[in-house]
């Protein structure tokens, strides 16, 4: 089995190397021989996918067959591991996850090479660049992190098992989503670099990659949020974002990717920010690679990191090389990237995009800076310091609030120039609405002047309301115009409006989703928690709930043994649910794991949007009593609802635009003026 896998990986390396070298040679020539060579390079790229797929399938089959002669399977699986998690073995260790990276890249390359007729020359450049990235990963897989290494000596009877933290349904989805995002940015990167190298005229490369970029961004968004939800549902500390270096690593390309999605519109519509867009997509790809490096090098301690290994050096060399190539072509071909238009007013959509990009990049820089500052500190001061949540919350949150302000303001500004009258007209309803929200918060007891976290929470609520009201007013305004022209009712008109410009209105829906996510985050200062040893019948009061310990029980299955607490939850004297927080002991790995239980309160009260979050922490060794910790986390469900709305907005933004509706009311026709006549 391992020999088939090893052979497949070697074959893939040979094919992708050929695809890269032959493709490169073909691009240098312009004769018929070069064209034929280019075609063989394209086909070798397609065949690479088949070879990497074979290697991936072999590893998964080995996991299902409990083939512990393969060291990777021994270290990451065991006989009694459920089937879904055996599939997840593919990405749960260093070598397997690199194989998965390579497989996804080969998959993206496969689709790209099949669609080459869109623009053969540009696609040939992109194909060569993707092949170069593929070669890098296959080199690592063959020579530094081989997933098919075999066990020496007598074969073990069972494996070490999968890390308990990964034995959760979301772990079967979260890494693939995140990887689809990370790897997917290779495609727009390849097109951008290709277009720069060949001095591709116009903005067609942006049109070609627009959907790739949005799909990739969507995957990364889902991946990041699923990671947050996994942390919330599995780690049991009651939070969803710990500013861990690896969490940060996933957020950084998301931020630059978001900046790119916005600024690229400037290039499409006004022929501006060409150098900037190139730099942004290069940065996004490099930050994706940096994230992969951070997880694998051991350079920064993180709860997510794989075992330390030497492959960090490989990544550093590759990142350095990529940076050098990108910088060289940016400088060498800078004349090709000159802006075509001038800015006509400071109060314009162009300015708002520029500042939006600036703020996104400042947040990105802050995260990068905070992530690497411990290394810098060790270098300068001789000792590491911790850069944890207090730093990021203090520095990134104010900038993120400014960003939220621009999210609200930007859509109301016109391209080129916005008049004061139109600003007043467009802002009136959203501004009044958001100020009213702030007033209501103060009226109901939130004192923003008492504590910075309350201040930020209030500001976030006001600005989220501003974003929401802006989106509503944009839909209403456009809908009314169409309704007036076509005679449709307002709802149909707004739907038609959406369908006529899915990208714009899908984007607004994404903005609305972001506002909801912010609302979810702003509940954090108001979290409550109570920890108590609980004997039978003992109570925990966490307003408005009372938790009563009914009993404890145990269970056992081949994979793990577990202890449960049976907690009845009362509200207003009435039992509303029973919760079963759990602690497991995984037999193969010998590791314990707590599994909190979460009760979203809107099940029984639509307007109390909070999570009751109960953790079985273990037993007090002295008294033998179980320790239960209860959290009440207000507003958290909005984060996940916001994500669903963001994904919905992204998907609808991918739908092709519909044709404009015909006006039913005939417009008065005038005779055309005699323009230019009589001079």
């Amino acid at each position: 089995m391992s020999q088939i896998g090893s052979f497949a990986l070697l074959l893939a390396l040979g094919l992708s190397s050929y695809s890269f070298l032959a493709g490169l040679v073909a691009l240098l020539g312009k004769d018929a021989v070069s064209a034929r060579l280019g075609e063989t390079a394209r086909r070798a790229g397609i065949a690479t996918f088949a070879a990497v797929l074979l290697a991936g399938v072999v590893l998964v089959v080995a996991a299902f067959n409990d083939d512990f002669s393969i060291a990777y399977i021994f270290h990451h699986s065991n006989r009694d591991l459920p089937a879904a998690y055996k599939f997840a073995v593919l990405w749960s260790g260093q070598e397997g996850s690199l194989l998965f990276w390579s497989l996804l890249l080969a998959g993206y390359g496969f689709v790209l090479r099949l669609r080459y007729k869109t623009d053969q020359r540009l696609f040939a450049y992109a194909s060569v660049i993707i092949a170069s990235v593929q070669v890098f990963f296959l080199l690592i897989l063959n020579f530094a992190a081989h997933p098919f290494g075999t066990m020496q000596g007598q074969l073990p009877g069972d494996g070490n098992g999968l890390n308990p933290l990964l034995q959760y349904p979301e772990m079967v989805i979260h890494p693939p989503m995140l990887y689809l995002g990370y790897v997917g940015f290779t495609v727009p990167f390849a097109f951008a670099l290709g277009a720069l190298i060949m001095k591709y005229p116009g903005e067609k490369w942006i049109h070609i990659t627009r959907r790739w970029t949005m799909v990739t961004w969507g995957f990364l968004t889902i991946g990041v949020f699923l990671g947050a939800h996994w942390a919330y549902a599995v780690l049991g500390w009651g939070g969803y974002w710990g500013w861990d270096p690896v969490e940060n690593a996933s957020l950084m390309p998301w931020l630059t990717g978001t900046a790119f999605l916005h600024s690229v519109m400037m290039q499409e519509k006004r022929g501006m920010l060409k150098v900037w867009n190139m730099s942004l997509i290069f940065a996004t790809f490099l930050l994706s690679m940096l994230g992969t490096f951070l997880t694998r090098s051991g350079v920064i301690s993180s709860v997510h990191a794989f075992a330390q290994s030497s492959i960090g050096t490989w990544f550093l060399v590759f990142i350095g090389l990529t940076l050098a190539v990108c910088s060289f072509f940016l400088v060498a071909n800078r004349d090709h990237l000159k802006s075509e238009h001038k800015l006509e007013s400071l109060v314009s959509r162009e300015s708002s995009f520029l500042f939006n990009n600036l703020l996104l990049l400042v947040v990105c820089f802050t995260i990068l800076w905070g992530t690497f500052f411990p290394i810098l500190s060790e270098f300068v001061q001789g000792h590491k310091v911790t850069v944890g949540p207090p730093f990021f919350n203090r520095v990134a949150v104010p900038v993120a609030l400014l960003l939220l302000l621009l999210t609200a303001v930007g859509p109301l500004l016109a391209w080129r120039k916005t008049s004061v009258e139109s600003l007043k007209r467009n802002f009136l309803f959203p501004a009044i609405g958001s100020v009213a929200v702030g007033g209501m918060m103060i009226l109901f007891g939130v004192r923003p002047w008492e504590d910075p976290s309350y201040f930020y929470a209030t500001m976030a609520a006001i600005l989220s309301a501003l974003v929401t009201f802006t989106v509503i007013s944009e839909f209403l305004r456009g809908g009314r115009v169409i309704a007036g022209k076509s005679g449709m009712n307002l709802v149909s008109a707004m739907l038609h409006l959406y369908h006529r410009n899915t990208r714009r209105y899908g984007g607004y829906i994404v903005h609305f989703g972001v506002a909801l996510v912010i609302v979810g985050i702003l509940g954090q200062p108001f979290n409550k928690e109570v920890e108590k040893e609980m004997a039978f019948g003992d109570k925990i009061n966490i307003d408005p709930y009372t938790l009563v310990c009914q009993s404890y029980t145990q269970d056992d299955n081949p994979n793990y043994g577990n202890e449960w607490a049976i907690i009845n939850v009362f509200r207003g004297g009435k039992q509303i649910t029973t919760m079963y927080p759990e602690r497991r002991f995984y037999k193969a790995s010998g590791q314990p794991q707590t599994l909190p239980r979460i009760y979203p309160s809107f099940r029984e009260d639509l307007f109390l949007v909070a999570d009751l979050y109960v953790v079985y922490e273990g037993k007090n060794e002295t008294t033998g009593r179980p320790i239960i910790k209860a959290h009440l986390n207000p507003l958290v469900p909005w984060i996940w609802i916001g994500l669903i709305i963001m994904v919905f907005g992204t998907i609808t933004a991918l739908i092709p635009n519909a044709a404009a509706v015909r006006a039913t009311a005939p417009a008065p026709v005038r005779a055309p003026a005699e323009v230019g006549a009589g001079d």
Binding site: L358, T386, P544, F607, P634, L635
Partner: protein, 200 residues
């Protein structure tokens, strides 16, 4: 539909956004608990309760100072067990480090007024090393950690303003004698540009 509307009338719309958050801020406070216990009360009572709550928050401001200090300091330190979490958020099963540290923190706070927050943190640094503090201190080289993001923001704003100004001052194409009327392909290009810029 009718029942939803009547439900809507019974509840404060604010809770849609706050999730009862305002009520949770004073969880040590008996008045607040009394106010929040009556979740399903009709609308006028809710307003009264909200007013009582607002008063209670104001009146009992500063109550539970020790708890607040414990919470604040506990969130400014990291657990040293290797979990990488803030001290009060470590839920590492059977974590010896966080239990010990929490005990030490409580004892330090109980010592009283002369033992201020900075001294308490200093004590932990001496015992556990500088990585126990969850964020860089505002001293020495660590200041750079705090300054740099805002410096980059300021430089970025200055650069953006400069770029916008330079874009604005770009020369517009000079008018030639007489206006050339676009026709055919040239006119199509203008139309395409107009469509791009107006999003229709």
């Amino acid at each position: 539909m009718g029942s939803i509307l009547s439900r809507l009338r019974k509840k404060s719309v604010l809770r849609l956004f706050l999730g009862g958050a305002a009520l949770q801020r004073c969880d040590n406070n008996p008045l607040a608990n009394a106010a929040s216990a009556a979740e399903v009360a009709p609308s006028p009572r809710r307003w009264l309760q909200a007013a009582a709550l607002a008063f209670a928050v104001f009146a009992f401001l500063g109550a539970g100072d020790t708890d607040a200090r414990f919470k604040d300091l506990g969130h400014r330190m990291m657990c040293t067990c290797g979990c990488g979490q803030v001290l009060l958020e470590c839920n590492h099963v059977g974590c010896q480090a966080s239990d010990k540290m929490r005990g030490e923190l409580s004892a330090a706070i109980d010592k009283g007024g002369s033992n201020n927050d900075d001294l308490i943190l200093q004590g932990f640094v001496q015992e556990y090393g500088p990585t126990v503090i969850a964020a860089p201190t505002a001293t020495g080289f660590n200041r750079v950690a705090w300054i740099m993001p805002f410096l980059v923001l300021a430089l970025g704003i200055a650069l953006a303003v400069y770029i916008v100004r330079s874009w604005k001052s770009r020369p517009t194409p000079a008018l030639t004698d007489g206006i050339a009327i676009p026709h055919g392909h040239e006119l199509d290009q203008f139309r395409a540009q107009a469509r791009k810029e107006t999003d229709v």
